[in-house]
């Protein structure tokens, strides 16, 4: 029987397709999307745990562990002041809320389709506690029967107060229900409306939510991610995620959380919580009075174990997807207790500063002289009918001439950062930075500039972008270098239109940290050191953090964080100095300067005041600069703010007129012509540096609002700066301060 080849092929294809089809049907999907109807069980909520009461103490503090609720009460043995993890609950509070308010933790979990929040008493939770570590710590083991989950919390005392941690190996995940987040001690030192004080939230430079009886209506609490949300998860990166890409809505300008802290202060008593471990995947929650009908102000941290996103697969619509593996690592928070004069936001910021110096080991940056911070833009590409041309805004020679002109005007202390210097300008082929653009002078020209700067004692930095390349960059290999979202596709980042904040066609990628470090950073670091530069600004590393959930080898935010820190250390070692923008806390100790530090908060309407928490913590430790003065909306106010917060003024200039930048991707340099700004900027610099140079190495010891629109900042060497934001003159302690003006007192000049 002769076999007809065609028939054979035909039948074998049919069989293969059949097999594949059966395989697809029989394989259960990776993510459990069990939509079983949950049988309504009798939720027997219990009121107490019935665990042992335990005590531990050290030289200063005494901790009492209440086994009924798993709560802790820490007392300062000398003063008798106590900090409680659960509040005194009124008789009138309904039982549901009572159980809610006396929980040691809140747990979020998912069954595949969105998160649910719960507390132990609701899930048949049992708690057992014992002394561990030779009687120095208390370990509370929590078993949540209904969720089939369990984990432990450890409590230790320290010199400053209380350390609380969740060991990762103690976590047993549920089978159908997976752990998403754990919120620790949500009602720690919760304040009533009658208390006097405020919650401190790390929004930008810092903000206060004051305790008030007659308060506005609050609709929702403050709940933000530390170090910004994970940019790989579009649900969090955008305000509204839609299938139609043109409808994706971005957030407007707002601040991020740069410091992993929160706290609150009442009369004579305060605490500051610092996230020790797990800060890269945590949220800070601050809930004002009235939410859920609870008349208390409270703040807490929420550790994230799984992130989730909404994914659009073809025509199937929006599908919620959760990361399958937990984010590993122990989580811990350090509570620092403060009393009397220290019980305010200045005291809390100083406590954080101590933590940075003692615990993290941040050493004060050697060179903190106040300098004229000059930023020059080299150039950028402009699209033409055929191809594109390079618009040269400041060549290296022109940069030299600007330096000369400044020095002629008496500027001795100068720092120059060159932007847009590489081959195709600002949005060129990054992460491939070399050679320097020919029209600007090429790599040789840059080297000459560097030598010239060195001879004049000027620090020369260049900016680099190893994080967020423009999608048309030729310097990267898309499939190898770019991170992927949960849907396993290359993550596309859209720049929003300034009018509607909806996505435009300008697109960027995020680079995989390990890949970019091995393939680009380590390869280019020698070129930077050969140029003889003083330092390198690592763009985005100070204000952007993301994981890589969709690649073949997924990574977490901690991996990205470690790579950023490694890069900073490498540059510091090989080139000299590093600077970053904004300044997330993990950069402290690895950078020599923070540019564009947040000088305000997002001013959410539920917050009351902006405070310079970050500046009190950092001044004298790490120098920081303000947003360029030539790009201010209201120069009078922003100059005062830079002065009030101790930030060095900076100027982003170009040799050519910025009108040449029309139709390029840079549309925000509305006024930068060096010739027009030289005199003005020198005037401002001289005026401001007169004050700031007296305090550049000093810590801020006090800050407060004296009157409406009048603020005072005191430094360790006795100098006091008072600023007046009002349209009218004010009198402070006999001195008149003109409108939009300041005075500096104390120290050698009065």
């Amino acid at each position: 029987m002769r076999l007809n080849i065609r028939k054979v092929i035909g039948y074998s294809i049919m069989i293969v397709l059949l097999v594949v089809f059966i395989l697809i049907i029989s394989q259960p999907p990776e993510e459990p999307s069990a939509s079983e109807t949950t049988v309504k069980q009798e939720t027997k909520e219990i009121d107490q745990f019935g665990a042992e009461d335990l005590e531990i103490e050290n030289d200063r503090y005494h901790l009492y562990f209440d086994g009924r609720y798993g709560s802790v009460h820490v007392t300062d043995q000398q003063t008798g002041v106590t900090w409680d993890s659960i509040p005194m609950i009124d008789e009138t509070v309904p039982p549901n809320n009572r159980r809610y308010m006396s929980s040691p933790v809140f747990i979020s979990y998912t069954e595949g389709k969105g998160d649910s929040q719960t507390y132990p008493f609701k899930e048949g939770g049992t708690l057992s506690a014992k002394l561990v570590d030779g009687g120095k710590a208390i370990r509370a083991d929590l078993v949540l029967g209904k969720l089939q989950m369990s984990f432990s919390i450890e409590y230790r005392l320290s010199e400053e107060g209380l350390d609380v941690s969740i060991p990762f190996d103690s976590i047993v995940d549920g089978v159908d229900k997976k752990l998403v987040a754990i919120e620790l001690m949500p009602f720690f030192e919760a304040a009533s409306e009658q208390d006097e004080g405020a919650i401190v939230i790390p929004d930008g430079s810092g903000a206060l939510i004051k305790f008030k009886e007659n308060h506005r209506q609050f609709f929702y609490p403050y709940s933000e991610f530390v170090y910004g949300s994970d940019q790989a998860y579009q649900k969090h990166a955008y305000q509204k995620l839609k299938k139609n890409k043109s409808e994706i809505l971005s957030y407007g300008p707002r601040e991020n959380i740069a410091l992993p802290i929160y706290g609150l202060y009442k009369t004579n008593k305060a605490f500051l919580a610092v996230i020790n471990d797990g800060d890269e995947d945590a949220k800070i929650n601050a809930t004002p009075s009235g939410i859920r009908n609870i008349q208390l102000y409270r703040a807490s941290t929420e550790f994230i174990y799984r992130n989730a996103d909404n994914v659009f697969l073809g025509n199937s619509g929006e599908i919620p997807m959760t990361l399958s593996k937990m984010i590993p690592g122990d989580r811990s928070v350090r509570f620092m207790f403060l009393q009397d004069e220290q019980a305010n936001y200045t005291g809390m910021a100083k406590a954080y500063r101590n933590y940075l110096v003692e615990e993290v080991g941040v050493e004060p940056v050697q060179d903190q002289d106040v300098k004229y911070q000059l930023r020059l833009l080299g150039g950028v590409l402009k699209d033409e009918i055929i191809g594109s041309t390079f618009v040269s805004m400041t060549t290296f020679n022109q940069a030299k001439s600007i330096i000369d002109q400044l020095m002629d005007r008496g500027i001795e202390s100068l720092e120059l950062t060159m932007e847009g210097w590489s081959d195709e300008g600002e949005f060129g082929d990054q992460p491939d930075h070399f050679p320097a653009n020919r029209k600007l002078g090429g790599t040789n020209g840059l080297q000459e500039l560097s030598e010239y700067a060195r001879s004049k004692g000027i620090d020369l930095y260049v900016t680099t972008n190893y994080v967020k390349p423009f999608n048309k960059s030729d310097g990267l290999r898309k499939s190898r270098d770019v991170i992927r979202g949960l849907n396993k596709e290359i993550l596309k980042v859209y720049k929003p239109y300034v009018t509607t904040k909806q996505a435009s066609n300008e697109m960027y990628y995020y680079l995989k940290p390990k890949t970019v470090f091995e393939n680009y950073i380590t390869k280019e670091v020698d070129s930077f050191s050969e140029l003889g530069l003083s330092g390198v600004q690592l763009n985005y590393m100070g204000n952007t953090l993301y994981s890589d959930p969709g690649s073949k080898q997924p990574t977490n935010r901690i991996d990205t964080l470690n790579t950023w820190v490694e890069s900073m250390d490498l540059m510091r070692q090989q080139v000299g100095k590093t600077s970053v923008e904004y300044g997330f806390a993990y950069t402290f100790g690895h950078v020599d300067q923070i540019n564009n530090i947040p000088l305000g908060s997002s001013q959410y309407f539920f917050a009351d005041e902006t405070i310079p928490f970050m500046q009190i913590a950092l001044h004298g430790l790490i120098p920081y600069t303000a947003t360029p003065s030539n790009l201010r909306d209201d120069p009078r106010i922003e100059l005062l703010r830079a002065l009030e917060y101790g930030a060095q003024p900076s100027f982003e200039l170009t040799y050519e007129d910025p009108v040449l930048l029309k139709r390029t991707m840079i549309d925000d340099l509305f006024s930068s012509k060096a010739a027009e700004w030289l005199d003005r900027s020198v005037e401002e610099y001289t005026r401001v540096s007169e004050v700031l140079s007296q305090v550049s190495y000093e810590a801020i010891t006090h800050h407060e609002m004296l009157q409406t629109g009048v603020y005072s900042t005191n430094y360790a060497n006795g100098i006091q700066v008072i600023v007046n934001y009002n349209e009218t003159a004010v009198t402070v302690a006999g001195q008149i301060i003109r409108p939009y003006d300041f005075i500096a007192e104390g120290g050698t000049d009065s």
Binding site: I24, Q27, P29, E30, G204, S205, N214, H215, R216, Q217, N244, S246, E247, G252, P253, R254, L313, G314, S316, I385, I386, K488, E489, Y497, V498, T499, T500, Q502, P598, L599, G600, Q603, Y604, F605, T610, A626, T627, R632, D633, D634, P635, I637, E638, L640, R641, D657, P658, V659, K662, R663, D667, D668, F670, S671, K673, E676, M705, T708, Y725, N726
Partner: protein
């Protein structure tokens, strides 16, 4: 009865240290529209200052406040609708009085609007009670005005006043909710004085056709199109009434004269239609949202600031309709709103915006940049162009992307007869009309100055022309042989083809039917030349005539504009002709069609060069020549069809029409196939994606 709470208020002020908002980063980015509707970032003109909240003033939180009225003495009245009262305050946040909460005739119910006369009499649109209430300056009830009796009002008319203003005679202009006939006008005695300033329903051909075709029953079911309603009004010092209207996309703000005529939107170039608000609105569910202007305020110099609830932004225009600033937005940060409902301003320029849902009034102050722009625009609008130049120059120094400044300086230079400099500025501002006007004058001056040069130039050109024609005549006499297509090399034959297509089209189309490689190559070259000419002429066209910006020109798109019709036409023509027994081969049709572009190739470029010395007033010449070229091409097309397929004239015309229809059919089918292939493609990709998840 007014309650004096100033003592309590003063005490509260001392105890309550409310901070002034100081921004290091405003929650809205400053931007401006340039003349090409791009949105470069700009310096913000207004920044958030602070808020007025009832709770802080110990009068209880405001509840859904809906209107603010700023009186001549810079005190203001807030219609606290949810609390059924009017609150009178001053800029220092002192509460000077409250109206309408006392029992009696003066008790208000959801008052949505308030107006105060020069003498301090307070008129309230007491919406819940469907009346206007008049209080005296002390807050005591004087009288009320209910729905007037009038034969002009039909019984179904509901009088629901939401906003009210009074003119100098004491006549009341009332926005009555749901009234599409216009503003209700009442005389001081309460009698009806007619409707005022109704909006018109635009003419719509579709509606007309539908009405024509639909049966009586169907017509009854159609939603009746009503004129759009007014949302708010404002009166300026001269007695003109500014109105805001919902539901229309242009002229949302009007300035009505005493007889109800809109005197604001006079713009010849745009058909008296001016668009207010963002040009680009947010997209929701694949379609753009509509703006909803809810209030407007006008300052002493005529600067208009209008509030759009859809985007939450305030837009500020000068008297001539030039956009000055945009600020605000929706969000939960100070400086953004949830539901902005009303806007007002005090003499110092501070803006007051009422947020209905957040129950507070937000205040915005001007930046130094705004002060400078206001200074400049005030002089400019008054016609003092020279004086305005200085502040405008300062504006450019502060912000180089503020196009209005360039336009204004250009105009000033024009008035000062510095035409060349004017042209430079107007070019930057992309003001084509202004540029053209300046160019007219500049050209006159230039011609007058360099008359000798120009005259000599003309003579030289004439002499050259004569010489070339004589040379051609001589050469033509030498070549007595009719056009040979096969000899003399490729280039010669192509040039010959081109020449013949130009000068002897009839002969050309006969000759083209012979074999020869040169004709195909010639055809391709002509097409490429046509594309090149098109792109070049777009680039070289004089500024006054330019319709596209260089960066908007895409090489690909322009090529498609030439190649597309050429291919489509050829295919369609050949198809149609073959069916109707034409004799032309496809190759002949293809190459013949290419050569119809020869006049285009020859003359478009010179025409573009010439536009550089012409102005818009000579538009007719340019238009005329362009049309002539197009007609020539059309003639060639017709000739080609007739000759190549050997039709008679009538049939040729008929075939041409059919070919055009054929082109549309081909395009339609092409689109269909494209869509189907796209669907198939995305299906396969999605299948792959889903599989990669489960395996």
């Amino acid at each position: 009865m007014a309650k004096k709470l100033s003592m309590i208020a003063a005490l509260t002020l001392i105890l309550c240290l409310t901070p002034i908002a100081v921004f290091s980063k405003s929650p809205y980015e400053g931007y401006i529209y340039d003349s090409l509707r791009n949105t470069p970032e700009s310096i913000n003109g207004y920044l958030y200052k602070d808020s007025i909240e009832g709770i802080e003033l110990n009068i209880g939180s405001f509840k859904e406040p809906q209107d603010i009225f700023v009186a001549d003495d810079d005190t203001f009245y807030i219609a606290d609708s949810g609390n059924d009262r009017i609150v009178h305050m001053n800029m220092d946040k002192d509460v000077l009085g409250m109206i309408g909460s006392e029992e009696g005739e003066g008790k208000l119910s959801t008052p949505k609007g308030v107006f105060v006369t020069e003498d301090g009499d307070v008129f309230v649109a007491d919406t819940g009670n469907q009346r206007i209430v008049h209080f005296d300056p002390d807050g005591d009830f004087v009288r009320d005005f209910k729905k007037p009796d009038s034969s002009l009002l039909d019984s179904g008319f509901t009088f629901t006043p939401s906003r009210v203003i009074l003119d100098k005679r004491g006549y009341m202009f009332i926005v009555s909710e749901g009234a599409h006939q216009g503003l209700v006008q009442l005389r001081p005695d309460g009698s009806f004085a007619g409707f005022f300033g109704a909006n018109h329903v635009d003419f719509s051909l579709t509606r007309l056709l539908v009405k024509f075709i639909a049966s009586k029953e169907q017509r009854e079911q159609l939603a009746s199109v009503r004129p759009p309603e007014f949302s708010n009004l404002f009166q300026d010092e001269e007695g003109f009434v500014y109105t805001t209207t919902f539901g229309i996309r242009t002229n949302q703000i009007k300035r009505l004269s005493a007889v109800g005529v809109d005197v604001l939107n006079i713009d010849e170039a745009n058909d008296d239609q001016r668009r207010y608000g963002d040009y680009y609105m947010p997209i929701e569910n694949w379609s753009a949202l509509y703006e909803a202007f809810v209030d407007v305020t006008v300052d002493r110099s005529g600067v208009i600031t209008a509030l759009d609830q859809t985007t939450g932004k305030a837009f500020q225009y000068d008297q001539l309709g030039n956009l000055l600033f945009i600020f605000g937005g929706l969000g939960d940060q100070d400086g953004l709103f949830m539901t902005p409902a009303s806007i007002g301003q005090t003499l110092d320029g501070t803006m007051y915006i009422v947020d209905k849902t957040r129950n507070r009034i937000d205040r915005f102050h001007t930046t130094p940049f705004a002060t400078k722009v206001h200074e400049a625009t005030k002089l400019y609008v008054e016609g003092k162009y020279e004086d305005a130049s200085e502040p405008w120059q300062e504006v450019i120094r502060m912000n180089s992307s503020y196009d209005l400044a360039y336009k204004a300086i250009g105009k000033a230079l024009y008035k000062a007869e510095h035409y060349r400099e004017a042209m430079t500025y107007l070019k930057v501002a992309k003001d084509r009309i202004g540029y053209s006007e300046a160019f007219v004058e500049h050209r006159k001056v230039f011609l007058r100055k360099h008359f000798e040069l120009v005259f000599a130039g003309i003579i030289i050109i004439y002499v050259l022309y004569k010489a070339i024609t004589m040379w051609i005549k001589r050469r033509r006499r030498a070549a007595t042989v009719p056009l040979k297509l096969d000899g003399g090399g490729m280039i010669v034959s192509i040039t010959n083809l081109g020449k013949s297509a130009l000068l002897h089209p009839i002969n050309f189309f006969y000759d083209i039917q012979f074999k020869g490689k040169s004709k195909i190559i010639g055809a391709v070259i002509i097409i490429l030349l046509a594309v090149a000419v098109r792109v070049l002429s777009l680039m070289i066209t004089g500024f006054s005539f330019q319709t596209k910006e260089p960066y908007q020109i895409s090489l690909l798109m322009q090529a498609i504009w030439i190649i597309g019709p050429w291919l489509l036409w050829s295919i369609s023509n050949w198809g149609v002709s073959t069916i109707i027994h034409g004799e032309g081969k496809f190759i002949d049709v293809l190459s013949g069609s290419a050569f119809v572009f020869v006049p285009y190739v020859c003359f478009m470029l010179p025409l573009a060069i010439v536009t550089n010395v012409l102005t818009l007033s000579e538009n007719l010449i340019v238009g005329g020549v362009t049309w002539f070229i197009y007609l020539w091409i059309a003639f060639l097309v017709l000739a080609k069809t007739k000759i190549i397929h050997d039709f008679d004239l009538g049939k040729a015309i008929w075939i041409t029409l059919l070919t055009i229809i054929g082109m549309f059919i081909i395009m339609f089918i092409g689109l269909l196939i494209f869509g189907l292939v796209n669907q198939a493609f995305s299906f396969i990709i999605n299948l792959y994606k889903e599989m990669s998840f489960r395996l």
